[in-house]
Symmetry: C2
Subunit: 278 residues, 2 copies
C-alpha cells in the first residue's frame, strides 16, 4: 500500500471471536502507527454455533468489504459457517470490495474461494485474529498483518510463477463442484488438515484429487492433531497424497508450510505472489 | 429367486470381519436350507486399516461377483476403503456379475454407487454381516438375507414409484462429482449419518444438495451418535435438511427408516422396489 496507514476491517463469518483474542491483537499493533484495526461488533455476537445469525454475519462481511474507508478485510476466526453466507455475500459486493485484500483460512476458505471465483479483491490463505492464542501466535498474526499492509514477508516459501491457492482439505472437499468453487486449472493447490483421522484424510484426497484434474500440482501442508485410531492406517500422510495425486494425474510437488498452527504462512490466491516478488 | 437355494458370497471391501460375527450369522442361518453363505477368506485378512491390501480386497470382490456359482454378493462390513478399489473392480466384472444382488451400506456405498452407475446387478443399501453385533442385529441381518433371497419384507417403507438410492451422508459427499457417482436425477435419495457433529452434517448437506439438483426429493434417515459439542449447533438435523434442500430446490420428503443401527432397512437402488411390489 502507498497510504501511510492500512485500515483493516475485521468480521467473523464463522465462529465468534473471544474478546481476549481481540485485545491481544489490538495490543500487538498498539505501537504500530501504520495499522488501524476495526473490529466489527458482529465479531462478538453469538447465535448457536455461530458469531450471529446468517443475516448478521453476512451483513457485517458485506459492510466491511463495501466500505471504502477500509483497505482490507481480515477474518477473525474459522470454525464453521462461512459457506452458509458466501454466495449471497459475494453477490452484494460493490466497487470498494474489489480493491481490498482478504485474509483467512480453514472455514474462511469458502469465502476465499467465492471471492477468487468472482474475481473480487486479493484473497489469501493466512492466519486469523483468533490464531493469537496459539504457540507462535504473535508471529502468525504479524504475517497476515504484513500481507494486509502490502508486504510479502509472510509468504509461503514455495510460491513461484504458478497461480496458487490454499485450503483446508475438508473445506476444499466441500467446495468441489459447488457454486463457490473457483477454476483451479494450472494452479498449485496447497492443502492442510487438522483433527481428522488418516482414513478420513485418505477419503478426502480420493474426492479432491478427482476434482483437481488439470491443476499444476499439489503441495501437502501439515496434517495436525491426527486422533489415535483403534488400528494404524498403514500409510503416512505423504503416501496418501502421492497415491491419490498419481491416480488423478496431478503432480505431487512436496510439502507446503501451512497448517492449523503458529507457523502457518500466507498464500495469496492467483498470481499475486509472482506479481509482488518480481 | 426361483432356485431352491440362494448362494451368497461374502467379502469385505473395507474393514475386516470379526470371526465371531461371521459365526453368529452362520448360526442364524444354520437351520435355513434355502440360504448358503460362503465367507471369502479375505473377510478375515488384515492390512493396516483394511481387510487386506487393495489388491486382496479387489481380488476377492471380483472373484465373488464373477462366480456364476453365487446368486448374490453381501458386503461384510463398512469401515473405510471400498472407494480405493471400486472403479478398478467394477471394470473387471463380467456376465455373471450382472445378475447378482449386492447389499451393504456406509462405506460400501461407494460400491453400490459404482455398480449402479455401471448398470451391473441389483445393488441395495442394507444391513451387513457385521451388523449382527448391534441391538436388533439378528433382525437387521435377516432383512438383508431376505432381499438377497429375492424378498421384499425388509424394504424401507416409503419406497414408491420413484427410483431410489440411499447413502451414508459422508459417503455420498465424497462420491459427488467422482467417477463412481451415478446419475440420481429423478431419484428419491435417502441419507443417514453417524458420529458426526451437527455442524459437519450441515456442511455435508451444503455439499450434497448442490450436487443433487434434479433429484425427485430427499429423505433423512437417522443421524446417530452425534458427539457433544462445546456449544449447541442451533438447528435440528431435520431443520438442516430442510434448509439445504430448499436452497437447492430439492423437495424434502420427510424421514427415512435407515441408519447405522439395528432398525436399518433395505433400499434397493433404482426401480427395483416398484418392480417387485407391483
Amino acid at each position: 500500500m502507498s497510504t501511510a496507514k492500512t485500515r483493516i476491517a475485521i468480521c467473523a463469518p464463522g465462529k465468534r471471536l473471544e474478546q481476549e483474542h481481540a485485545d491481544a491483537v489490538r495490543e500487538l499493533v498498539a505501537d504500530d502507527a501504520a495499522i488501524e484495526l476495526e473490529f466489527h461488533p458482529q465479531c462478538f455476537a453469538s447465535h448457536g454455533h455461530f458469531a450471529g445469525t446468517d443475516a448478521e454475519r453476512m451483513g457485517a462481511l458485506v459492510e466491511c468489504a463495501n466500505d471504502s474507508g477500509f483497505d482490507a478485510v481480515w477474518f477473525a476466526n474459522g470454525g464453521y459457517g462461512s459457506n452458509r453466507i458466501a454466495a449471497e455475500a459475494v453477490a452484494q459486493l460493490g466497487a470498494a470490495a474489489r480493491s481490498k485484500r482478504y485474509v483467512g483460512y480453514s472455514d474462511a476458505g469458502f469465502l476465499l474461494a467465492a471471492l477468487y471465483r468472482a474475481g473480487i479483491g486479493s484473497p489469501a490463505h493466512g492466519p486469523m485474529v483468533g490464531d493469537i492464542r496459539r504457540e507462535g501466535g504473535a508471529e502468525a498474526v504479524r504475517r497476515s498483518l504484513d500481507f494486509l499492509s502490502g508486504g510479502v514477508g509472510g509468504f509461503e516459501p514455495s510460491l513461484d510463477g504458478h497461480p496458487a491457492a490454499a485450503f483446508n482439505l475438508m473445506t476444499l472437499a466441500m467446495l468441489c463442484g459447488t457454486d463457490l468453487m473457483p477454476d483451479l486449472t494450472r494452479h498449485v493447490v496447497m492443502v492442510e488438515e487438522v483433527s481428522e483421522h488418516l482414513y478420513a484424510v485418505d477419503r478426502l484426497f480420493f474426492h479432491i484429487a478427482q476434482h483437481l484434474r488439470g491443476a499444476a500440482g499439489l503441495r501437502l501442508g501439515r496434517i495436525g492433531d491426527v486422533p489415535e485410531n483403534d488400528r494404524p492406517f498403514g500409510m503416512t500422510e505423504e503416501e496418501i497424497a502421492r497415491f491419490w495425486c498419481e491416480k488423478a494425474g496431478i503432480e505431487y510437488l512436496g510439502r507446503a508450510d501451512i497448517g492449523h498452527d503458529g507457523a502457518n504462512r500466507v498464500v495469496p490466491f492467483g498470481l499475486a505472489a509472482r506479481a509482488r516478488s518480481q
